[in-house]
Symmetry: C2
Subunit: 149 residues, 2 copies
């Protein structure tokens, strides 16, 4: 992992469909060499994959909530996690330390749909308590900033 690799990671984070040829022009290396470096970055696990970033708003979903969740006694954490597959509005989540067990990000069309999600969580997934707040907006930051350190 040298400075060139970090440049390549930044470039691929900006546009994962950039050609090796163009990446090579940017770092002054042949397409060939870039291809090998990127393959190494992939197999070493630094690059986990290449993802198309979707815009939920363009899919008609403009209500984003952050919901902290506490499970009832006797609910298996692992079962709860796999059960979330059944609720597509839950697009991300983490298990956290502290007062609550999990934090979920829930993307909905409107408050009615969100109400349905909360009811489902409580009725079918062993959620005892939840605490939700509206996402006003997301900040323009991302993980590629770690390359600056």
């Amino acid at each position: 992992m040298d400075a060139i690799d970090r440049s390549l990671l930044r470039l691929l984070h900006t546009d994962a469909r950039a050609t090796y040829h163009d990446l090579g022009k940017a770092v002054r290396l042949s397409a060939n060499t870039v291809s090998e470096r990127v393959r190494r970055l992939r197999t070493s696990g630094v690059v986990r994959g290449y993802r198309a970033e979707l815009d939920p708003a363009a899919l008609g979903r403009q209500l984003v909530m952050v919901t902290d969740v506490r499970l009832s006694e006797g609910i298996d954490r692992h079962a709860f996690e796999s059960g979330l597959d059944a609720i597509p509005q839950v697009v991300a989540g983490s298990r956290l330390t502290g007062e609550y067990d999990f934090q979920l990000r829930v993307v909905c069309i409107d408050a009615t749909e969100f109400e349905g999600v909360v009811d489902t969580l409580k009725r079918n997934h062993g959620v005892r308590e939840c605490r939700s707040r509206l996402v006003l907006h997301d900040l323009a930051l991302d993980e590629s900033r770690l390359l600056d350190l």
Copy 2:
């Protein structure tokens, strides 16, 4: 936006570097037609971009914290947001309703580094109070799940 477009979005979310030819094989369309559909999805804003997903742990950063933050009176929200550019450990964040003003995701090497981030936030960025918890792990969910609705 029909079922084929949703398939293409799912495929591109799994591998944003897939060729139009391969995408076409999956949805039984010519590479040509796939290219046109994908271009429409891009210009309509459903696809915001293509990103390489990095693994912070592979970059030597294994401590991930979620930190809620409340700003002091008289601190401009917008100034706070742009000021975060100076702290690369902050890899994501949202402005939220509720008790706290923002929630940040902070990726560090160890507790000492995180302590530095918290001190910086309080000393230089107008943070009055913060409440942090450790991310035990992230759930295997993503925004492409919205396509199932």
